[in-house]
Amino acid sequence: MSQWKNFSKGFFKENAVFVLFLGLCPTLGVTTSAINGLGMGLATTFVLVMSNLVISIVKSQIPDKVRIPSFIVIIASFVTMVELVMQAYVPALFDQLGLFIPLIVVNCIVLGRAEAFASKNTVISSIIDGFGMGLGFAMALTILGGVREILGSGSIFGFKFIQGDGMLVFVLAPGAFIALGYLIVLVNKINKKTA
């Protein structure tokens, strides 16, 4: 597989959210606005790239039996780093994302890529895989956040272009499920056409 393919698969063909249905909790939980989605996506990308990097370096040192717990410790260390950095430099975003930052630890995408990719491949391709998957995830979250923000409050990235409130339901919990459902239909359709 060429490195370009390795990178780009995370966006459409194997998009974590729209195609594999992984990491749905933060996807639904934080995407009340495009900027929240982007912030969460980038935080996850950082954890994904760093944990893929470290795991692909130490993979031959870890005994097979304690593989999963070791991966979790590595991931949890990077999540703690992200948590502390975000708390210090972007406290407003940190408050918005709340509990979902520590919950990156149990995001199935991160552990899934560690297990399925980084523990079997070279350092370089693991980093590229991490970037591709992470940015694909960030893209999905930004799109979902954007759709919900446009429909729900008539603004995008905080820039308001419609007066009044919009359809409040899209900012609330039910709108997250419904918007994601329709987005999945759309992505399926695009994937089918390009296949």
Binding site: F21, L24, C25, P26, L28, A76, T80, P174, G181
Partner: protein, 190 residues
């Protein structure tokens, strides 16, 4: 009275699945049959209650006592992972029947964010030990309730005629959205 408010708020008003989005992966993944979703709900209840108890004590007597609260994430997830293993081993010995019923769901629970989410929430909300346990039990019930209702709906979805592109997961999400809308009717009770 305080506990009744915790119970009602956790089960109906702030339902962990439909209002807070913890544990959506198993919600979409294993909820295609009522039977499996009852098994999953049972396993989650078991682990969630024990995990919340253990992490509460750890937070109070180790992390806070030594001023290393920033280690919370890493400690809690390790405790949960170890606990899941432990529960699996004990169940296998003590109650093979229960192990048969819950067995396949146990490994999945480590990465169920509902468990870690409730453990952290219980600490953040500053409950005492009993309050934390009540909080964990009612969240587990809320999780199970939403899971079983949704599985029942999905069993019926298999039999109805829906547009081809929406079959499977997309329609499941939209139904989940409508279910969440129904649960929003409970808002304002407490």
């Amino acid at each position: 009275m305080e506990y009744i408010i915790i119970i009602i708020s956790a089960i109906f008003v702030n339902n962990i699945l439909l209002a807070q989005f913890f544990g959506v992966c198993p919600f979409i993944g294993v909820s295609s049959k009522v039977e499996t979703s009852i098994g999953m709900a049972g396993a989650v209840t078991f682990v969630m209650v024990i995990a919340t108890m253990v992490t509460y004590l750890l937070q109070k007597y180790v992390l806070d006592a030594y001023g290393i609260a920033f280690m919370q994430t890493i400690t809690f997830i390790l405790v949960i992972a170890a606990l899941v293993q432990l529960v699996e081993i004990i169940l296998k010995k003590v109650s093979p029947a229960l192990y048969q019923a819950l067995g396949i769901f146990l490994p999945l629970i480590t990465t169920n964010c509902a468990v870690l989410g409730v453990a952290i929430l219980a600490v953040q909300k500053d409950y005492n030990l009993l309050g934390s346990v009540v909080f964990a039990i009612s969240n587990a019930i809320g999780f199970g309730l939403a899971l079983v209702i949704f599985a029942g709906l999905r069993e019926h979805l298999d039999m109805v005629n829906i547009p081809k592109g929406m079959k499977g997961v997309p329609i499941a999400f939209i139904v989940a959205g409508l279910l969440a809308l129904a649960f929003m009717g409970f808002a304002g009770i407490v």
